[in-house]
Symmetry: C2
Subunit: 418 residues, 2 copies
């Protein structure tokens, strides 16, 4: 078991949790709420650097969540931070954008194969919802088809059916299908009305919570593209989690399938708040017609950060770096688990790995394991995919594997071998 003193770790964090519960409903909310995680997970952090973060008590953790995606080049990447600071020193939120907005739009249009234009916002939800709005404006259709269990943000159309605050009307225009099941897409089209589908929304891979990750089948991707073409619906690829980690050209380029719209956010500016919707020319007039805006959407510092992020990623061939490190991590995890006699499934593209325990259908064993990892200085998640960043070098991966090996040992001690 762990030799790190839990008491010492808990002090500042516990104090902040106690204060937070008074002034924040439930003490915290959303994906950063540590309440569903083992106690060993810190709720509050103090800093980050490269592939490491430090919690509020100063404990260092090798970070495999990367702030749930945004950190692509490591925390506080010097060139990105310098670019953002340079622009902030001139002006960030002004009465209009700076030239950075045009340059970033040009860069993305040049880089992402399907894209002829770009619009920018702040949240992932902004980008996916803007895509739906534009698809509706362009097609005159109402319905949106989404895969059951896929996460596309917190807007009503994409929120969980029946979740608190939803009304019976919230999903009137949302129809569900099963990921990687073309027949179910056809059934959803029939249910929606073939002449009333505005968009089919898909993540590039299946990365739902509480599941092993699953690639999109090439045949499925092509099939959805063909359906969209047949019924005059827009294919909206939600690249918010995968964008810039799998393929600079867009995450379905590997299948030879180009969406009409793609939504980007998270890693776009290495942690600076930014989202983008990219679109094809056929959707340009629809995009031009809609009302969409936000107080900080045109902020220049995040756009300068995005330009620097993409430049740096390209210069170092960052996707390949993450792939190699991720593969080393995945192989090491599998080996380590096996050496303890534990049956696990390691899934996901190497840049976005995940691990589950055999027969652990409620992910309780994964939770205990992730807590043991956190206590040993490795931050990863029991039921949501992880993320690599380019600062995960061989030494960091090996150090993480060594720490994780102790966590596997704790699981074997607690549950025995399979």
């Amino acid at each position: 078991m762990s030799t790190m003193p839990t008491e010492g770790r808990a002090t500042a964090d516990a104090g902040l949790r106690e204060r937070a519960v008074r002034v924040i409903p439930g003490g915290m909310y959303g994906h950063l709420d540590a309440a569903p995680l083992p106690q060993k997970f810190p709720q509050f952090f103090s800093r980050g650097e490269g592939c490491r973060v430090w919690d509020a008590d100063g404990n260092e953790l090798i970070d495999f969540m990367c702030s749930w995606g945004p950190i692509l080049l490591g925390h506080k990447h010097p060139e990105v931070e310098a670019a953002a600071a340079r622009q902030a020193a001139a002006g960030d939120v002004l009465n209009g954008p700076t030239k950075d907005m045009v340059e970033l739009a040009e860069l993305l249009v040049d880089q992402v194969t399907h894209a002829d234009w770009a619009m920018f916002a702040k949240n992932g939800t902004d980008a996916t919802s803007l895509g739906v709005l534009i698809a509706r404006a362009a097609t005159g259709h109402r319905r949106v088809l989404v895969a059951r269990g896929s996460y596309h943000g917190i807007a009503d159309w994409s929120a969980r059916v029946g979740a608190p605050g939803m009304t019976p009307e919230s999903h009137l225009n949302t129809v569900f299908f099963e990921y990687n099941d073309l027949a179910s897409v056809e059934a959803a089209v029939a249910q929606a009305g073939a002449d009333d589908v505005a968009a089919i929304v898909l993540t590039p891979i299946r990365h739902d919570v509480y599941r092993d990750l699953e690639p999109a089948q090439t045949e499925f991707a092509h099939g959805v593209r063909a359906i969209c073409d047949r019924i005059g619906a827009a294919l909206l690829l939600d690249d918010i989690r995968c964008g810039l980690r799998l393929d600079l050209r867009g995450s379905w380029e590997v299948h030879g399938v180009r969406p009409d719209l793609s939504a980007w956010s998270k890693s776009l500016a290495n942690g600076h708040a930014l989202a983008a919707l990219l679109g094809a020319d056929a959707l340009r007039e629809g995009a031009r017609s809609v009302i969409a805006t936000g107080s900080f959407w045109f902020a220049s510092a995040p756009m300068a950060a995005a330009l620097a992020t993409i430049d740096a990623l390209k210069a170092m061939d960052g996707i390949e770096l993450m792939r190699v490190s991720g593969e080393r991590f995945q192989e090491g995890l599998a080996r380590s688990a096996q050496s303890h006699g534990l049956s696990v499934t390691v899934s996901g593209p190497p840049q976005m790995p995940f691990l589950s325990f055999e027969g652990d259908s409620d992910f309780s064993r994964a939770s205990v394991w992730a807590g043991e990892c956190a206590q040993r200085g490795v931050y990863l998640h029991p039921f949501h995919n992880w993320f690599l960043n380019t600062a995960h070098d061989t030494a960091a991966i090996d150090e993480a594997l060594e720490r994780v090996d102790g966590a596997f040992g704790a699981i074997r001690e607690r549950y025995g071998t399979d």
Copy 2:
């Protein structure tokens, strides 16, 4: 007429507009789109400092839009920027918030009289929509009542009925009433069903586009509060535009009326992207129950900026500063117009002034005037309220008035006196 060379001004801006139109639908979108404004308005900016901004061609303008609200203490306020940079140098977007989130929630709960808790997001739309979501979760009711013409963001429930991309279902649960007309609120309640109203949403003053600004009648504010109490609906005050400019305690404290929920954004962090929803204890469980989250919602640098913004605002009694400067500006505008024989209405609280020309129902004269102001180095808007910031000192106001006087002269030359 102006003596500034339009050609010189146009060069960089025109070049950027030309590039933008290729990679951004329509060349720009949203509230920062300069297309509906006279050509003399620049689309692109390069920097800001205090109460001044510089366009992409280096022309200096005294800024009365303050980035449409966010800039409260002047562009690049040293203490705010230092606080944000200090936090960014440690970590901004991490795997959890830093202590800044707790401190900011504590500060807001302490300062805003109705508030017992706080949640944070990025956009104004996030905050108003989160308020509606929580009101629905807490009351179990569906409908939302909003004043016709009021802007509460771009989510479907609050978007313009029939705007491109809206469906017939978008406003099924939205019912409209007239601002400052209690009988129309009662009628809307009856239409919605008295037992099915989740929230009544109101701005603290009527600040719709294409209208003179209009204060809320105290009787109206109390009446809406009483209706909400009677039917078990939440009163949601949309303080996104007015917040921190009129009253630190919340903008309806002057009426002695406390909402159940209030939405804040824009000026909260002097230009750093942040939004907040504040709520009363009665809504705490509802708030706890909903699913609401965003990749950058827990970012610490904007929270550090917000703490510094509110500290600085209090230390300088910034609201009073803006009131005094705004009053000087309003009085000067009225005097200047009169001296040219022009009939105008100056409206709004001094911190958020506005001016319209008599009989100018399509705001065409206001547009020409605003263009003449822009050409002379004063940035204000023909059909949307303006904003003061605390960097507008007497000298800047007087300089602006002198420039604006020339614009009134141009209007007199073009249209004659009334």
